[in-house]
Structure formats: structure tokens, C-alpha cells
């Protein structure tokens, strides 16, 4: 093996029923580098990671690891760990009911008897060494998500891993926490750990990575040095198409204008999770709630939909007063809500794509008017076609679809009910650039057809492109409303930061 290379994967292929997930993919990782693995959803990133960590068995190809002769045999996460390959997944894979120290050591010590004191002492050393703000004897569930993730990384590092895989580590962290994580990643890089960094955030890739490998449709597109690949080209390579689509969207976004009629209006609406606020949306309007993570934007729309316990306020729909205290009321009043947490609140994992699509419509019709099989089939066909949902069939359980396609199914569920007001909370999170564009375009098209849409996204650019009015929240309060010319990134930032924020050099 060439010097400085810790891992080579050659000609990796794997198929699942009906899909060729990876076709002849190569991947090389050098010592002390941060190597971003990029690609749209369904491009095969996760599959490649899972082959490397022994979750999936590859059909063909070889994996070689530094310091071991010949091919490495990896059939389980445990074997991968023993070979020095550690993974930190998007969802924290530690046990919340154990202490930090235990989470560091469980499953990898040979001790039959737990030596608490020693574990806690060593854990404290490791945490101090890496600058992680946690206590060894703390129960893990008492730590913030970011710290939990860092504990997972510390564990991997302490296991002398040569290859550290970070699978979407930043998707649930705020900016400060991301900075903390990046500091840790650079620290590890200095120590010679090879890091595979899987993420959707392009800026983050450019901030920390040295090299990028791009996958598309289960095939290798290429491996590039970050310094030699401009961001625009990276996106083009991931999507396999030109960027004209983006420009087009910009134009549509600006011309989309709202009608006069107020569709939904709330006065002093409050829930267990959010303070009273006023809100209205007109026919054909696309507006957005923005603010930092935890500023209350999701809580506000959950209150509108009755997903949290509503504690007060008056709501009118097209001038008529209505009571919305539970999602059922909202659905029957013509409101649709695509939740932020797709896996928890959105999909019903074991039901088929078809059943997931007709769910909301069935609620409107009531239990006594079942949707016939033939109708359901027709609806499913229609929306799979219309939204270009990639699925093996309409009987496939939704959990086997990629994230972006699951999101489309949920979207189809609401579109089928022809809501007058559709709330989309982070519809583009964790899905690939191409699908993001498709969803944004769809939103604008729906608005033109007269639907009112509330669109929430962590990416401000995305909201600026699609929304004609932005409601800015800070500390669970609405602090501003931006329309027309005010819709610039600088203005949004300023409003979020608040009046007393320091003037930056603008």
C-alpha cells in the first residue's frame, strides 16, 4: 500500500432487490486528512459507509487497511471497530441512560467487573485533553446533543481508530456547536486520524475538508482536492446537471405575488411551547418563519396545526372562526403540515408508500368512508408520477426509500387533500440539492395556483428564494417581518441578531 494511505476501497459493488446501490466504487483515505463524501440522496454515500462498517455485505470489491496484509474481512460493526474503523452516526449511537464514562468504555473493555473509578478518571483525562465540556460521571441524557456527539467521537478516538467516519454530524447542531465540532475535527486531523465527513452542508465541506469524493447514482464521479473544485462545480457534479435551474427559480420566486383574501388568521395564538403571537396568511402567499434553531419557529407552526397543546388565541379561516386544538381539526379545516421530524412525526415506516400517501385524505373522509383499493392505487400512481418519487413500487414500505423520496411521499399525502394552507417545516432538510430545487419549485407552483404556503428552512438563501414575506423570530417571539426589498440575507441576519447587535462592516 502507498505511504500515508490508511484505507483503500476498490471496485465496491452491492445491489439490493431492484436497485444497484453501488457500482464499482473506489475510495481512498489518507492519514490526517478530512475527506468529504458527497452526493445526492440515494447516491450511495450511506451504503458505502455501511459496507465499510460491516452493516452491509458487499457483492464485489476489496477493502484494504493500513498495517494489515491483504483484504480486510468486515462483517459486523464490531469487526470494523477492531480494525480501527469507527463511526459516529447522525443519530447519537450512545446509550442515554448510562454515564459519559460508561459510554466511553462499555463494549470495548475486557473487564468482567466494571471499574467505575478508573473509567471516570480516564474519561476525565480524555475529555480535558480534547476540550469537551462534559463530566465523566454525568448521565449522558443530561448532556446537549453536541456534547453527546463529541463524547461519541472521543470514544472512537480513544479506541485508536485510524478511520473516523462522521455521518451527517452537524445536522442537529447550531452554529456554535458546529464550530466546536470542527475544532475537534481539526485537532484529530493533527493527530493523524483519517476522517470521512458525510454532510449536506456545502459550506461546511469547504470549511474543514481537504479532499472530496463525489458519488452519483451509486457510481463514482471522482475525487478532488477541495482547493481545486469550486463550490458551483461541486454542485454540478453532484447533480450531474447545470446550474441554470437555480437562476430560473430566482425569477419565479420574485414574481410570485399574493392575492388579497386572508386565508388563515390567528390572534394571540399560544401553545404549551410558544408565546402568544399574531399571524395571517393570504391566498397564494408563500411566507416563512426564520430564526435561529430553537427560536420558536417550529413551535409556532405546530401551534397553528394544533400539534402542541394550544393554550389560547382566536383563529379564523377565510373569516370564519374555527377551533383548532388538535391536528385532526386542522386537517379538516384544510391545513396541511409537513413536520420537521420526518421520521418521528411524518412517515409510518412500515406502511407502504401508497398507504402513507392516502393517510391524510382518509382522515378527512372519516373512518366510515374508506378509500377503496382502486382509488388508493390511482392516487398513489398519480403522485408518484407527479412528484417523481423513486420507489420500487407503491407497495414498498416507506422506510426503504431515501430521505428525499420519503419527504416527497409526505408532500403527496398533503397535496392529495388539496389544502388551502400548507405548512412545510424544513421540507428540504437532509435531502439532496436536486430534490431541494424540485420542492422549492413545487412550492412556488402551488402558490401560483392559489395555495397559501408557510415554508421553514434553516437555509436562509432557500427562504429568500421562495418566500415573499419572512417572519423573523428570536427567543420564541416574533421580532420582525420582512417583505419586498428587505428580503436580503444581511437584513435577515440583522433582524435575527436584534437592534442591540454590533454593527458589522457592511
Amino acid at each position: 500500500m502507498e505511504d500515508g494511505i490508511v484505507l483503500t476501497m476498490r471496485g465496491i459493488s452491492i445491489s439490493f432487490p431492484g436497485v444497484k446501490a453501488l457500482n464499482n466504487v473506489d475510495f481512498t483515505l489518507r492519514r490526517g486528512e478530512i475527506h468529504a463524501l458527497m452526493g445526492e440522496n440515494g447516491a450511495g454515500k450511506s451504503t458505502l459507509i455501511k459496507v465499510l462498517t460491516g452493516v452491509y455485505e458487499k457483492d464485489a470489491g476489496s477493502i484494504c487497511i493500513e498495517g494489515r496484509d491483504g483484504e480486510a474481512n468486515i462483517h459486523s460493526p464490531q469487526q470494523a471497530q477492531n480494525l480501527g474503523i469507527s463511526t459516529v452516526y447522525q443519530e447519537i449511537t450512545l446509550c442515554p441512560n448510562l454515564t459519559v464514562a460508561e459510554n466511553m468504555f462499555i463494549g470495548r473493555t475486557k473487564d468482567r467487573i466494571v471499574r467505575w473509578r478508573e473509567y471516570e478518571k480516564r474519561t476525565t483525562e480524555i475529555l480535558d485533553n480534547l476540550g469537551i465540556p462534559a463530566r465523566a460521571s454525568q448521565e449522558l441524557s443530561h448532556c446537549s446533543l453536541a456534547v453527546q456527539q463529541m463524547v461519541a467521537i472521543a470514544r472512537a478516538v480513544d479506541m485508536k481508530c485510524k478511520v473516523l467516519i462522521l455521518d451527517e454530524p452537524t445536522s442537529s447542531l447550531d452554529d456554535k456547536e458546529v464550530a466546536m465540532l470542527f475544532k475537534l475535527m481539526r485537532e484529530l486531523k493533527e493527530r493523524g486520524v483519517g476522517i470521512i465527513f458525510v454532510t449536506h452542508f456545502l459550506e461546511q465541506v469547504y470549511e474543514v475538508s481537504d479532499r472530496i469524493t463525489v458519488l452519483r447514482g451509486g457510481e463514482l464521479v471522482g475525487e478532488y482536492l477541495v482547493s481545486e473544485l469550486p463550490q458551483v462545480q461541486l454542485v454540478a457534479k453532484m447533480m450531474g446537471k447545470s446550474l441554470d435551474d437555480l437562476a430560473e427559480l430566482e425569477r419565479i420566486g420574485q414574481k410570485s405575488a399574493a392575492g388579497e383574501e386572508t386565508v388563515y388568521e390567528a390572534k394571540d395564538l399560544s401553545s404549551a411551547e410558544c408565546r402568544p403571537f399574531d399571524f395571517r396568511i393570504r391566498r397564494g402567499e408563500v411566507n416563512g418563519f426564520t430564526g435561529l434553531l430553537g427560536s420558536g419557529r417550529s413551535e409556532s407552526v405546530r401551534a397553528i396545526f394544533g400539534a402542541d397543546q394550544v393554550t389560547g388565541g382566536r383563529v379564523t379561516i377565510k373569516g370564519k372562526p374555527v377551533r383548532i386544538t388538535k391536528p385532526h381539526d386542522a386537517i379538516r379545516s384544510g391545513i396541511g403540515y409537513l413536520p420537521e421530524n420526518r421520521r418521528r412525526d411524518g412517515i409510518i415506516a412500515d406502511l407502504s408508500v401508497r398507504d402513507n400517501i392516502i393517510l391524510a385524505l382518509q382522515v378527512i373522509k372519516g373512518m366510515n368512508h374508506p378509500i377503496s383499493r382502486a382509488e388508493a392505487e390511482a392516487f398513489a400512481d398519480e403522485y408518484i408520477e407527479a412528484l417523481q418519487i423513486k420507489t420500487a413500487s407503491k407497495d414498498t414500505p416507506i422506510r426503504s426509500l431515501s430521505g428525499g423520496n420519503q419527504q416527497k411521499v409526505i408532500l403527496a399525502r398533503w397535496l392529495l387533500t388539496h389544502p388551502q394552507y400548507l405548512i412545510l417545516d424544513e421540507p428540504t432538510r437532509g435531502i439532496d440539492v436536486g430534490t431541494k430545487l424540485e420542492i422549492q419549485k413545487l412550492v412556488l407552483k402551488l402558490a401560483e395556483e392559489g395555495m397559501s404556503v408557510t415554508f421553514i428552512s434553516s437555509e436562509i438563501e432557500e427562504m429568500l428564494r421562495t418566500c415573499s414575506r419572512l417572519i423573523v423570530m428570536r427567543d420564541r417571539k416574533i421580532v420582525g417581518e420582512l417583505t419586498g426589498d428587505e428580503l436580503t440575507q444581511a437584513q435577515v441576519m440583522k433582524t435575527i441578531a436584534g437592534g442591540e447587535a454590533r454593527d458589522e462592516n457592511e
Partner: protein
């Protein structure tokens, strides 16, 4: 550095497990003291506590057996059935064998009891851990199997006639200074049966096992988050398997202890005791969702149940239905209390986190 050391030494906030355990200890004490004050009588004598232990030794042991699998996220409802089968098999063996050495005969009986438990544990562990069948179904089948086998062994009640064993049944540890003076002036010492001592030993051993051994901690990890446990490199299957084996062996032991308390086999021995054991575990702070609980809490859970039984027996409401209803009410009350406490705790935690964040923000601004 000194600051850091102080921070490390500071007590951590109570974990959910400890919190729920303390609640159940507190309730037990409150209930017992309440009974002492209002009912007086037997409750004023230390013997009352020992009686609770003597009468419920088998329940305490199977409650521990349940706690272990429940912490791992499973359930085992075959424990009562295994007691019934063990009691019957041991009674028949004691009466039927022709071994002259009575000690040897008793040891063999004990081994038989443990063997039956082990057999059930191994089989159920294999089905649950390796074939991944729902533990509820597996152990329900186990319960039916055990009850069926009991009836096959003997439809009629079997009284133990083995003299050595009956001697053992009568053997009690006496503690004179905890005794009391009866009306006729005789000193009656406090008495503990061997079974109660065994039960206490089981509680202590299982506590240590769960707290300090690799297997014990793995059970918590698996119950806390099975997927994570797998990713952390824990052998989830073997962990689950061994938790059922331990549970099975304890059930067998509980059968032997039961026989030492009431030396007779009967098709309806310990019937529905698995439900009491589940209730004891839950009252002791074990969550059905797994990952939280410990056997000390379970011990007090079992004691709470048996205290209720005693209180009702001494009160004017002495009827079995009142007791059932009291148990049910207690169980509901506990579940309610637990969820309220956990909710408040989580809310307090969230509030604290928010305060810290706000403090940081202020620091940033200044």
C-alpha cells in the same frame, strides 16, 4: 484546576433509576409508619418485617428475575409457572427418591429446581435473543408449558414427607433482641426463614451484578437503546440471552424457596404471581421501556405490595377483592407519580439548560 476538581466531586443529579428507587423506598417507609400509627398491633413488632420477608421470599426473587429482563427491554411472564413446576417436581422428587443421605437428597432437589429454571431460561433466551421472537409471546408460551407440565406431574396436591426437608423448613434464624415478650411472659424471639435470607442474598447479588459486571451494564445499555448498544460493540444477543438465563435460574430458585416456606406441591401454586412480580418491578421504578430500574427498588416494590396485603388483612376491609383493588390503585398511582416526577425533572433540566444558555449569551454580549 482546583475548580475543576471541585466540579468533579460535586454530586451528579439523580439519575432516573435512583430517583424512582428513592420514591418507592419513601413510599414504603411512609406506608409502614402509617400502618404502625393507625393499625398498631403487629406492625409495632420487628417480627412484622420478618414475616413480610418470610411470606414473600419467592415473590422477591421472581421480581428480581423480572427486573433483570425488563431493564434489558424484555419481559418474562413464565416466572410463576416455573415456580409451580419446580415446587411440584421437587415435592415429588423429595418424596419419591430413595437416597439415604438426606442432605444429598436436598442438594439434588435444589439442583433439580435450578435445573428446571435453567432449562426454561436457556430455551426462552434462545428464542428471544437468537430467533428474535417477541419475549411476551415466548414467555407466555413458557408459562403455559410450565403449568401444563405441573399438571402432568400430578393432578393432586403433593405434600412433602421427606423428614430432612421438613427439618429444613422448620429451621429459622432467631434474633432474641428483636423479639417481644408475650402475654404469658415468655420471650418470643424474631424469626427469619432461610428462604428470606436467600431472597435478601439474591437482591444484593443481583444489585452488584447489575451495577458492577460487564453483563449487568450491557443489560442497561441494551435496554436504553438496543441499536446504540450494538454500535458500541456490545454483543446484544448474548446479553439478552444471559438475562433470560439468569431470570430462569432465579425462577427455579424461587420455586425451591417457595417449597421451603410451604412444603407442598399443587397445580395452582404461585398462580398469577408473575403479575405481582411485574407490579413489584414497576412500583420499584423499573420502566417497561427498559434501561431504567434496579433490584433494590424492586425489593421495596415487593415489600410495598406485601405491606398492602397485610394492612388490608388487619383492616375491616379484609377481603381478597379489596386487596386486588388496592394493588391496582397502587400500581396506577405509581405509574402516575413516576411520570409526573420524570416530567418535572426533565422540565427542570430544560429550564436549567436554557438559563445556562442565556447566561452565556449575556457573557457574549458584554
Amino acid at each position: 484546576m482546583t475548580e475543576k476538581r471541585i466540579r468533579l466531586r460535586k454530586r451528579e443529579p439523580l439519575s432516573d433509576t435512583q430517583m424512582l428507587m428513592f420514591i418507592s423506598i419513601g413510599i414504603f417507609c411512609a406506608m409502614y409508619i402509617g400502618a404502625m400509627l393507625t393499625l398498631g398491633g403487629g406492625f409495632l413488632k420487628p417480627q412484622q418485617i420478618f414475616d413480610l420477608l418470610n411470606d414473600n421470599a419467592a415473590l422477591i426473587i421472581i421480581s428480581c428475575a423480572l427486573t433483570i429482563v425488563m431493564i434489558g427491554g424484555g419481559i418474562n411472564i413464565s416466572v410463576g409457572g416455573v415456580i409451580g413446576l419446580t415446587v411440584m417436581a421437587c415435592a415429588l422428587f423429595l418424596n419419591g427418591n430413595s437416597i439415604e443421605n438426606s442432605a444429598l437428597s436436598i442438594v439434588l432437589t435444589l439442583l433439580l429446581a435450578l435445573g428446571i429454571g435453567l432449562g426454561f431460561g436457556l430455551l426462552q433466551g434462545f428464542l428471544v435473543a437468537h430467533l428474535e421472537i417477541q419475549p411476551f409471546i415466548v414467555t407466555l408460551a413458557g408459562m403455559f408449558l410450565a403449568r401444563g407440565l405441573t399438571t402432568i406431574l400430578s393432578v393432586n396436591p403433593v405434600k412433602v414427607t421427606h423428614e430432612g426437608f421438613l427439618e429444613l423448613v422448620k429451621t429459622k434464624l432467631t434474633i432474641p433482641w428483636l423479639g417481644y415478650t408475650a402475654q404469658n411472659g415468655n420471650l418470643i424471639p424474631a424469626k427469619i426463614e432461610i428462604g428470606a435470607l436467600v431472597a435478601l442474598a439474591v437482591v444484593i447479588l443481583m444489585f452488584l451484578q447489575l451495577r458492577y459486571t460487564k453483563l449487568g451494564r450491557s443489560i442497561y445499555a441494551v435496554g436504553g437503546n438496543r441499536q446504540s448498544a450494538l454500535m458500541l460493540g456490545i454483543n446484544v444477543r448474548s446479553t439478552v440471552f444471559w438475562s433470560y438465563v439468569i431470570s430462569g435460574v432465579l425462577s427455579g430458585l424461587a420455586g425451591f424457596v417457595f417449597l421451603m416456606h410451604k412444603p407442598a406441591g399443587n397445580a395452582s401454586v404461585a398462580i398469577r404471581s408473575e403479575m405481582d412480580a411485574i407490579a413489584a418491578s414497576i412500583i420499584g421504578g423499573t420502566l417497561l421501556t427498559g434501561g431504567v430500574g434496579n433490584v433494590i427498588g424492586t425489593f421495596f416494590g415487593a415489600m410495598i405490595l406485601s405491606t398492602i396485603q397485610k394492612i388490608i388483612a388487619l383492616s375491616p376491609l379484609n377481603a381478597s377483592w379489596w386487596q386486588e383493588m388496592a394493588n391496582g390503585a397502587m400500581l396506577s398511582f405509581f405509574i402516575l407519580l413516576q411520570s409526573v416526577v420524570l416530567m418535572r425533572k426533565n422540565r427542570a433540566r430544560a429550564k436549567k439548560r436554557k438559563e445556562i444558555k442565556e447566561k452565556e449569551k449575556k457573557k457574549d454580549e458584554s
